[in-house]
């Protein structure tokens, strides 16, 4: 029972990372209609900036996280303005942006390799809450609690922003149809920049926290998050952050349990099979709206 509960919390914490990354990835896909291959790099770079903020500048833990998050958002804006903005008026659709994002993926990955000296770095243990917290007799790593809380705050925050505020309404309008949104008085350029920043920042947060929790700060960090975050987005239904959050947590729990009780080699297989089944049987995901069409 003890093991079961501990593994459940491990799974939820792991899934929270996937979900946090997925929220950002899904935001770009739903609002801007871009399948962004470079998204994983935002997480890697946020983690790298966070690492150097602690290691070289000596900033305290919360400020370092903030630095990483802002870096993630800033890179997202740079990528959007250089790689996606020139293609927006030309009607190249999903394909053109996919290719330019692959270009940026190659660039950012290779630069991340230089930044970390082609190796995997780890945050010094003294720089973050590395101890255990006991909750009702269970000893849980404090970092896992931080990750779970971060996901909860981000999901609720972004959900409220998108569903209840004027800015959110503008984002949904641009996601539905940028031209008619502009006719309705929405400054779509600002909305695009805001969405890109928000998506980069959320995924950047996942990157920094993931880099700390897994003691792996390198370009491989983003790649791992990207594949699982992508699965979370599809299973959850990408136009609803609640779906992404729940699906991400479920994927994390399933992964940990499969590894614990069945076999480690089946771990990824089950995640991706679930992904494929959802795509074929229920493409709109757990919470997706009934129809999705982009002219």
């Amino acid at each position: 029972m003890q093991l079961f509960l501990e593994q459940t919390i491990n799974g939820v914490a792991l899934g929270s990372l996937y979900a946090l990354f997925g929220v950002g990835f899904g935001l770009v896909f739903a609002t801007l209609g871009i399948l962004n291959a470079a998204h994983g790099c935002y997480a890697s770079w946020a983690a790298i900036v966070g690492y150097y903020a602690v290691e070289s500048v000596g900033l305290p833990f919360p400020v370092a996280i903030l630095a990483g998050v802002i870096a993630g958002g800033a890179i997202a804006i740079i990528v959007d303005q250089i790689a996606f903005q020139p293609l927006r008026d030309r009607g190249t659709g999903l394909l053109g942006a996919l290719i330019t994002s692959i270009g940026f993926w190659i660039i950012l990955d290779s630069l991340a390799g230089f930044a970390t000296g082609q190796q995997s770095l780890a945050f010094p243990a003294a720089s973050y809450p590395s101890g255990m917290t006991s909750i009702a007799g269970l000893r849980v790593p404090t970092m896992q609690i931080v990750v779970i809380v971060a996901l909860a705050v981000c999901t609720v925050g972004i959900y409220l922003l998108i569903q209840k505020t004027r800015v959110g309404a503008a984002m949904r309008a641009v996601g539905w149809n940028p031209v008619s949104a502009s006719l309705g008085g929405v400054n779509s350029r600002m909305v695009i920049l805001l969405t890109a920043f928000l998506a980069g920042a959320t995924s950047g947060l996942a990157g920094v926290l993931g880099g700390i929790a897994t003691s792996n700060v390198s370009f491989t960090l983003g790649e791992g998050l990207m594949l699982k975050g992508f699965a979370a987005v599809v299973v959850g239904g990408f136009d609803d952050v609640r779906g992404t959050a729940i699906a991400g947590i479920c994927l994390g729990v399933i992964e940990v349990f499969v590894a614990q009780y069945l076999s480690t080699s089946l771990r990824d297989g089950i995640t991706y099979s679930l992904l494929l089944i959802f795509l074929v049987v229920r493409p709109r995901g757990l919470f997706g709206s009934a129809s999705f069409q982009r002219a």
Binding site: I102, G103, F104, S110, V280, P283
Partner: protein, 298 residues
Amino acid sequence: MQTLLDFWAGYGSTVVFAMVNSFFALSAYAVLSTGVLSFATVAFAAVGGFLAAQMVGKFGMPLPAAVALAGLGGGLASALVAAAFLKLESHWMALASLALVLITRVVALNAPALTGGVNGLVVPQRISFLQLLVLLAVVALVFHRLSRSWYGLAARAVREDPAVASTMGVSPYRIQFTAFLISGVVGGIGGAALAFTLQFISPETYFIGLAFTMIASTVLGGSFHWVGSLIGAAVFTALPVTMQAIVPQIEDVAKGVALLLIMIFLPRGLIDPRAWGLRRAARARQVAGGATQAEPHG
């Protein structure tokens, strides 16, 4: 003659890999030319590659027969994929095929009897340059004939507007299904060609890297004409080699920048039939305009 030999010694392997990549780019083009973005080629290539490698390694099948069988295997796999995926909308289709690529690697890792698992598979035979050239020429000829056929015309119609195509009596489902079959056969052959070129394959051979190389080649070269895939594969394969010669420190960065620049300034790719048409029309207008201007004076 000497310079030619020197070139071959230095860049022979680049030429061979460009030819192998051409198969993947053509496979991606086959579906893209009917308006479907699919990464499933990687799965077809894995089927073809492992099938051909096992046939040659375990049963001593001659190489051409193994390549043909790989094409058949890829075609069968593509029929299954098309039946499952074609009802999806375009965005979902792309995502589903990406998921298929992820699953392909997991399956390959967990079926060591068929694929050698983590350790990979040594392929005892090597495809000669001439064999590869003939194979590519045959495939290219098929694409050339197809583009001039009823199917080619129907494919363009489906790509431009499926609704209009179906009112004209062209079934988008059937055209896209056919496109998938072509993509599967070519992808399977490409997978076998890659196996017989590398002489060592593992689950990592057929993964995301190949998917992105392939789609970048197709779009870079121009996804509106099959020649674009050949040009794109050549450019995309030669790019890292060239960049290594010019800026060895940051070759990957330079490769990414080159990809970005080409896509931003030539979003329809290097080979663009529409641009030729526009240029020809502009020239015709100029000649006609020159004639009318000349008349009052004459």
